[in-house]
Symmetry: C2
Subunit: 218 residues, 2 copies
């Protein structure tokens, strides 16, 4: 099986959302191969592991210029690093978490993020019982100190783990303070300006989708 060679420049081509969503999964699989000292892999082998077609893998990667060498497959480490760069994981992305309840603490405790260049540098809450606590060495601050904190720290992403009713107001305040990206766990859509990026994790919607899939089978 030969790999496609694609010399198309990346340019300003828009990559579809669906392709982007698959990149982290490639990255995860390549990371596992790397851990197991696999040096080279064909799109066919990778496709078997990942349960997608080899042609899909080649097409997806061709969006970014290919990476394969005809007849030789992919160099695992190279491809891993290149996808990492595409995903912006080659730099440190500082994160703050607004809402230091169970979910905020769960995110702060998740070691997967560290190893991918995401660094949680503070949790914020209104609850005085939580303020002053530390989660894996990260302090919970009073939300009133947020403005000051943002003057002193470069923050790339704000994770919102607070009720929907509060998230809208807090997000607007954070945009005023210069935050340009939200990882939104609140069950609400944030309507912010064009230059602000919002990635939603709507848990209730996820379980409803699961429920649909179960009940439509039976």
């Amino acid at each position: 099986m030969s790999e496609n060679i694609n010399t198309k420049p990346e340019g300003n081509k828009t990559i579809s959302r669906v392709v982007i969503k698959r990149l982290p999964r490639y990255y995860r699989y390549l990371g596992e191969l790397l851990k197991n000292d696999v040096v080279r892999i064909s799109s066919k082998e990778l496709s078997k592991k990942m349960n997608v077609t080899a042609s899909q893998i080649r097409q997806d990667l061709n969006n970014f210029g290919g990476f394969g060498q005809q007849g030789y497959g992919y160099n695992v480490e190279y491809l891993y690093n290149e996808i990492g760069k595409i995903l912006g994981l080659d730099r440190t992305n500082n994160i703050i978490i607004i809402g230091a309840g169970n979910l905020g603490q769960a995110l702060a405790n998740n070691q997967e993020f560290d190893s991918n260049g995401f660094r949680i540098i503070g949790l914020f809450d209104v609850n005085p019982r939580l303020v002053g606590m530390t989660v894996r060495g990260v302090e919970v601050y009073d939300i009133d100190t947020l403005e000051e904190f943002l003057k002193e720290h470069e923050v790339m992403i704000a994770a919102l783990t607070l009720p929907g009713s509060k998230a809208v107001k807090v997000a607007a305040d954070l945009v005023d303070l210069g935050i340009k990206a939200f990882w939104n766990f609140a069950p609400v859509d944030l309507h912010l300006s064009e230059d602000v990026t919002v990635e939603n994790v709507h848990l209730a919607e996820s379980i409803m989708t699961l429920s649909y899939r179960i009940h439509s089978k039976s």
Copy 2:
């Protein structure tokens, strides 16, 4: 603005995954309208609120037979209930959570699930320090009691909030014990038999997607 009338029978038509993913969002918006005593809404008004096109809404709902009445728009309560039925929310779906750490506790604490017919009836963990605890009235059991528990309770969904290395084994065991649906938070793909439904919430992949979107903008 008139609504499409669609008399097409639902039959065994396969509904695309993308449409299914939008249903919970419709359900959320309609729930809010209902709370605000809105009786009737046109697809145009709903589209403004939801930031999608009216034609998209009509198309999506036509997959399930329409629900609109030409010139009259949608009856909010009726549509809310019908979408609820499609999503399987008109019955109680019992859930167990495997892994009673922060994330498991966060799910158990989330009141959004209750109001949609999802009932968390037990958490399970290997950690003796967690066993015996209760989270919003739900007990944390020793994972060794799982088999017995499943004999006595009807469980629709198992949420997996444990490390990837353990999730694969636990999921296989649960399938042997009759579980047919997983809400998987572990950073691993579960390759289970065809009749088992898996809905993944891969947090690391979600934040990588956000990172891509941030860095591809600049």
